[in-house]
Amino acid sequence: MLDQELLRPSLKEGGVKATKSYDLDKLIYVGFFGGILPVLALGTVNAVWLRADKKRTMLLLTAGLTVLAARFAAIVATGEEGAAFVHSRLAGIVMAFAYRFALKKRYRLHTVLQGEHKSMAKAGLVGVVAGFVAEAVLIRLGEGIHHVTHTG
């Protein structure tokens, strides 16, 4: 027997909850040019748009932030930035792949149903520039902390 619940309107009260997504294949460019920070930001936004599993989204974000924190701690401990800039870009590329892989199913659903992706050009560019600035600040901050704790 047909469940009458199924024939009750959903959109009038619940609203349209269509998924949104960037072209996820482009996230790797953001990783290559902008490092790990903009990838985490855009990847998390995209995961929320696709209504991906919340646990998975949090896990990816936590993993990325842990890597970032570990590298920052290394700068604080040694007082030298080393190849932090390059490491961030490598981690950004890895995270871009991780998002692409983890969101595969939801991305497929979105692509078949909505048939279009939002352009990442603007957000990507802003992300790359902001990532640069944030990284420079973090590196100086790390060196500063090392300096203060080791001379003071």
Partner: protein, 293 residues
Amino acid sequence: MSHIPDDFHAAWREALYYYEIGRHEQARAAFLELLPYAPDDGMLLYYLAACAFQLDETDEAERFVREALRNGCDGEMALSLLGAICMRKEAYVEAEECLLHALSLNPQNAGIMAQYAFLMLKTGYEEKARRLMREALRLDPENETVLHYHFFFQRAFDEKAGQEQTIRQYMHVAESDVDKLTKLGLAALDREDYREARECFRQAFLLEPTNRDLLRVLEEVDRVSHPIFFPNRLMQKMGGPIVWWLGFLALMTLLRRMEWYGTAAVTAIAYVLLCVYTWISPVVYKLFRKMMR
């Protein structure tokens, strides 16, 4: 149809035939010829709306279908079409009203149930959508419309095996060769069999040269299957960029261990060039198309 004089029954059947085999341009011309003789025939107005809808003229389709509803056209059919028109206009709330109204007239209409299921899926009510689709399949597992939407459900959820079976069933019941070829083409595209996909869409396009959607898909298939994108396809086929990247790292470690620095350098340069090429290949393709014009 009742208002059309008997002499026109042959013309009516001809128009209907064109419509059923998917020749919408010809069908519309034939229906339009009948219009002066029966300007307030609900069914005629409905078919004019359906033709306009298939030919991507959404506003005209909406005008005709509303006229059809006013002139006593079969409610279920016309409301379903109006629902589809609203969906194309992204007026989803109104689309839901139309489809639920149609279902209230006949809750056993499996095709409209499937259409409503697809609307729910598209607007983010996935669980409800799945339940509606199950119900539609229970009501009529061999209905053309149900199979059409079921095929898109299976594509969306990436159920490859089920997809093949749905297509086989669809081939038995579908009227229009264009619809059949489009489904075969999409399935081939999902399998990344571009040659097969191109052939399907090309044949469909030959049957219906006015269909702009088909032209767009054909151009897209031509694009992704072009030799310029060969490195991209190779990379995708062999595990994707991440596998290549990991393989590259492993190879570099190995070469360094063996102190083959020359080989390592050449490999690194080749890898970077390949990566850069796969990134800029869309630009190369655009330039190539421009030069060919």
